[in-house]
Subunit: 125 residues, 2 copies
């Protein structure tokens, strides 16, 4: 049975912050992902970007060549591999988000999201 994030997390695509909004959009589509981890040259998490951020950029301007730094979120809400499923549900609801990068001392380990939880834990109902 699934009890911690480590049991159900999935890979997360990464990108560096010197890329453009268009490149982030391309990666999200190619990887069928809802969130990207933005990482430094040493692989450290520096932010995230989601389809929401790209949608918001599209609502105001032609955002293709805009630097990713203009839409990324730097204050990232993350999960630990040892967090329980219930911890995750509470955190997602509290911050009104759908996904979180999973991080530990070694860096970015993956992603946990409401999609993953619905697919991998609701079968118990």
């Amino acid at each position: 049975s699934y009890r911690t994030v480590a049991d159900v997390m999935e890979p997360i695509p990464t990108i560096t912050e010197d890329r453009t909004v268009r490149e982030a959009a391309q990666l999200l589509v190619e990887e069928t992902a809802d969130i990207l981890a933005i990482v430094s040259a040493t692989g450290e998490l520096t932010g995230i970007v989601t389809e929401w951020d790209i949608t918001r950029a599209s609502a105001t301007a032609c955002a293709e060549d805009m630097p990713l730094t203009e839409i990324m979120t730097r204050e990232v809400i993350t999960a630990s591999p040892t967090d329980s499923i219930l911890d995750v549900v509470r955190k997602l609801e509290h911050y009104e988000i759908s996904a979180m990068p999973v991080v530990d001392d070694e860096g970015v380990m993956g992603v946990i999201s409401s999609d993953i939880l619905a697919r991998r834990t609701l079968y118990r109902l």
Copy 2:
């Protein structure tokens, strides 16, 4: 306890297909929604558009003034208010989607999504 879609579904924002990608993006942001129901003048469901579709448009072109008809999905996977939570989970997983409009004889009743399910059914764990 929650057993059917009717117990947990939430309102879904609607838009007509004569609008632009930018207007759809604005509505998604204003309503903090992940999906819009596209409806005819008589309120009948004619399609959907999600942040995914807007992201994909941004990956290739400046999509602001593009008509919504160019990115909308017409073959909509829907849920019924009487569907069980398990039916919904299976359908979302099978089609690899995150949300579905809820429809019955009267038309579009709301939305059900993995976010809603995580928030409203996983507390039982």
